[in-house]
């Protein structure tokens, strides 16, 4: 087994472990921490594929900013332990089969296409950040700007919602 494959399995295992722990933990903060573990493992996976910039941004934005906000809100609301309830009927009869079906479909799709998936940069070469930004500001400039616009709209929406009581 090559070193890259070994690292992949460690990181993938951590990501799956974090995702499962996220659901099984009873306290919101512990769930949030598990989610951070998932984010960090994903960053490791990106780095393994040679996407250094994406990996760093994954940690800064998702591992840092977004999850800090989650943790902050959970702490601010002082959310306590969640009580474990029984599975609702809907979850038992519709949710579980649907989840299994979705997992099956994804697994089948991956298995079928695994032969002709493009291989990641196997020689450990990293995508230069300069190339990435050139692409971002030339070929993908409209999607990029539209996304920024969407975020701006979201910020304005949040502001309007927060100001509502004052008027």
């Amino acid at each position: 087994m090559s070193a890259a494959l070994l690292i992949f399995f460690v990181l993938a295992g951590l990501a799956v472990f974090g995702a499962v722990a996220l659901i099984l933990q009873s306290h919101p903060i512990h769930s949030a921490l598990s989610l951070i573990l998932v984010m960090l493992s994903l960053a490791g996976l990106y780095l393994l594929m040679g996407a250094e910039f994406v990996a760093a941004v994954q940690i800064i934005v998702y591992g840092g900013a977004v999850m800090v906000l989650f943790v902050f809100v959970i702490m601010l609301l002082n959310a306590g332990e969640e009580e474990r309830t029984n599975f609702s009927k809907l979850a038992t009869f519709a949710g579980v089969p649907l989840a299994l079906a979705l997992g099956g479909v994804i697994a089948a799709a991956i298995a079928r296409s695994s032969g002709h998936l493009p291989a990641p940069a196997a020689n450990g070469a990293l995508t230069p950040t300069r190339e990435l930004s050139k692409l971002l500001f030339s070929e993908f400039v409209y999607p990029f700007e539209l996304t920024s616009f969407l975020i701006l709209v979201a910020i304005l929406g949040a502001l309007v919602l927060a100001q509502r009581e004052r008027n």
Binding site: I36, A43, A56, V57, I59, G63, V68, M75
Partner: protein
């Protein structure tokens, strides 16, 4: 070159560097506390520590022994996972962040060429920000896990403060990045090397080789202010404001676990000082023009009088430490200064690290000076300042720098 070094150098050299760096940084942290207490003492017309050893020089050792020997009680009702994990996380992240800092130009030792730092990666600045982005969890978890309202308030304040100031900290360096066109800290320093312009080439003044230039002083101010907020130091020390919150997020911590937070905070100070040195003050570059070769004797000029002073100050003491250790250290410093004067090769090799150390020391002194001078912000002032002043100003700096670069490209 030694064949073993040639084959396994990539493994041996980093391990040696890591051990050396951790040792140096932990010692520096310990003596930074001494320096801080001394300087603040003098600012407030006191002596600071002076009982343990001459000039209180053994105080850090006494503090260390106290940290190790003290009882480490576990408060009732803590969230054990978060409570134990938080100090480790804080210390680990702050030490890790030093790994990407280049302390000098590349060096060649025994024929093995290596970078003067641990990791030389081409996105080192982003990596550093990634590590800083995670460091808030240590404080937030400590505050939340301690089952104490003061700790919780400290943790909350810290999270809010870090979310607010991280934005302007990241934006304030964009100007430098635009000018340098790289994310590598090493290349950012090399970009500021303008040969005969000396310190005029540093980003804070901003001249480039052809005589044009744009100062990044706005970016520098924004960066340093938000970095102080990120490291929870005065005047942004609301997370541990002792007059309001006992000790904030580390109220319930004692012994070594408290020491971990403490070391983490001081290491973060060192990292920020290193980073501002690199980004705005030319890193390891000398402030003098490259043709002024006489200025290369600066290390000797500082070391010899310092060594002599330590020597003659030490022999006045009656204690063993004062009588024997201080003169020995002073003698070594003097000899080192004379040695540098004699050996041209070694003198050239230490120029970079010497200037880097001087600048970092100045930045750290500035940190302490601020603590001795400024009162603490009120919480709403802190938030207002971060969002309504720092953020717009750093965005304006980005726009200004981009406009200047466009003009240079087309005009």
């Amino acid at each position: 070159m030694n064949p073993i070094l040639a084959q396994y150098g990539f493994l041996i050299v980093p391990i040696i560097k890591v051990i050396l760096l951790v040792f140096i940084v932990l010692t520096a942290d310990a003596y930074l506390t001494w320096l801080e207490r001394k300087v603040i003492g003098h600012i407030q017309a006191r002596w600071g520590p002076y009982r343990v050893g001459p000039h209180g020089l053994l105080q850090p050792l006494a503090d260390g022994a106290k940290f190790i020997l003290k009882e480490d009680p576990l408060p009732d009702g803590v969230d054990k996972k978060a409570y134990f994990f938080a100090p480790f996380l804080t210390l680990m992240l702050s030490l890790t962040s030093l790994a990407v800092i280049p302390f000098g130009p590349d060096v060649t030792i025994l024929g093995y060429k290596t970078n003067f730092g641990i990791a030389d990666i081409n996105i080192s600045l982003l990596a550093l920000f990634a590590i800083t982005a995670l460091s808030v969890y240590g404080i937030a978890l400590a505050g939340w896990g301690s089952n104490n309202k003061y700790s919780l308030l400290g943790g909350l304040r810290s999270s809010a403060q870090m979310i607010s100031y991280e934005l302007s900290m990241t934006l304030s360096v964009v100007g430098v990045l635009l000018m340098a066109g790289t994310l590598s800290l090493k290349e950012i320093v090399e970009m500021q090397n303008t040969g005969n312009l000396g310190f005029l080439g540093w980003n804070i003044i901003g001249f480039s080789k052809d005589g044009f230039g744009l100062t990044q002083i706005i970016g520098c101010l924004c960066f340093f202010i938000s970095a102080i907020a990120e490291t929870n130091r005065v005047p942004f020390d609301l997370p541990e404001a002792e007059s309001e919150l006992v000790a904030g997020y580390h109220t319930e911590y004692a012994s070594m676990k408290f020491a971990m937070f403490f070391i983490g905070e001081y290491t973060a100070m060192i990292t920020v000082s290193c980073l501002s040195t690199i980004l705005f003050f030319g890193g390891w570059l000398s402030p003098f023009p490259a043709s002024w070769t006489l200025t290369h004797y600066f290390p000797s000029i500082i070391l010899v009088p310092l060594g002599l002073w330590v020597f003659f100050d030490g022999i006045r003491y009656e204690t063993i430490f004062g009588r024997i250790v201080l003169p020995a250290v002073g003698g070594l410093l003097t000899l080192a200064g004379i040695g540098l004067f004699a050996s041209h090769t070694v003198n050239e090799a230490i120029q970079g690290p010497f200037w880097f150390f001087v600048k970092v020391f100045a930045a750290l002194f500035f940190y302490i000076w601020m603590r001795g001078t400024l009162p603490r912000f009120r919480y709403d002032q802190l938030m207002d300042f971060g969002w309504k002043v720092l953020l717009p100003v750093s965005i304006a700096n980005v726009v200004l720098t981009s406009t200047y670069l466009l003009w240079r490209m087309h005009g």
